[in-house]
């Protein structure tokens, strides 16, 4: 869903060791909606072993806050996988 009049976009592609781990990251990071009501959208999906994230925002400030919070959460997911993985069959 595009934000009307939005000029800013940002895209991240995060490779994981397997598609299972990429899907787990998606499952951990996707449920919480963006805290603010408007002005930004974030889409997540997985193709094979890569997690894709696409942002669209009206203001650079809002975009920066969302990306930096996402990266912190992502590093927490990866650290959790390292310490409490690998996935059980």
């Amino acid at each position: 869903m595009a934000v009307p009049g939005s000029g800013l976009a940002f895209e991240l592609k995060i490779p994981f060791p397997s598609s299972t781990l990429a899907k787990i990251a998606l499952g951990s990071l996707a449920p919480d909606p963006e805290p603010r009501k408007g002005g930004i959208t974030k889409e997540l999906n997985v193709t094979e072993d890569t997690l894709h994230v696409r942002w669209r925002a009206e203001e650079a400030r809002i975009l920066r806050v969302s990306i930096s919070s996402f990266l912190e959460h992502l590093s927490l997911v990866v650290e959790t996988m390292d310490l409490f993985g690998p996935p059980m069959a």
């Binding site: 990251a25 449920p31 927490l76 650290e79 059980m88």
Partner: protein, 335 residues
Amino acid sequence: MPIVIGFEGSANKIGIGIVRDGEVLSNPRRTYVTPPGQGFLPGDTARHHRSCVLTVLREALEEAGLKPQDIDAVAFTKGPGMGAPLVTVAIVARTVAQLWGKPLLGVNHCVGHIEMGRLVTGAKNPTVLYVSGGNTQVIAYSEHRYRIFGETIDIAVGNCLDRFARVLKISNDPSPGYNIEQMAKKGQKLVELPYTVKGMDVSFSGILSHIEDVAHRMLSAGQCTPEDLCFSLQETLFAMLVEITERAMAHTGSSEALIVGGVGCNERLQEMMGIMCRERGARLFATDERFCIDNGAMIAQAGWEMFRSGQVTALEDSWITQRYRTDEVEVTWRD
């Protein structure tokens, strides 16, 4: 014999506990303590939880002597609470639930306190006073809901105490409320404060503004001591809480009162509530700081009840929510 692990991090405590059929197997916790005069802010609190959540998780498993495959379900606090700390802890819960292939259970924090209180004390159907830094509610169970009989119309009682502690620069270690309680024991003089019970509800923000306004003036004029102010504030706030709890017990005809939440480990509050209960021929149930103060086992215990009654939370429904009222939860595990 389901074993449930519970993750709690809705305020300044991060706790992870493991419960098996009413037995607490482990319950490690860390508290984010701020300098005197300062409260805890969401971003800083989330960073604190982030820095120790995985260590606490390891401790919880080691103390319980369990491996991930022994766990049957992963419970976490869905809300209410501060957004950033809630998300941080929920992300770890979701990740391990998926890694270990276990179902998730999104728990209402307030319901966690009630279920832990019932488990630890053995109270069957109590009128519950839930008092903490973020919540103040009088609750009774009826028809599959924990119904709110009365609550604060502005700030929580614990928030009133915490913010008063900041005015006097009282230490936040181990908690501002604990230090106020110790100082109050040395209070000699009752300073009159507003008493604001409004029907079944209470209001604390006016009392806080009043005491903030008079504290420094009275102290510098030598009219009272900091200990007198701690004593007076506790006596006033707790009298209000006892009054609305007693009124709820009269409504429900209940003969049990249960105090839960962080403020619930205050022994003066327990003493005052105990006097009221004795006069009514009722029994008071309370717990100590291990289970009153936010902890992981309470989330595991509420999760255990949910799991046993057939509930699970789908990953896509596991979003956290800062607002989540106690009476929104359908209590599927009680008659």
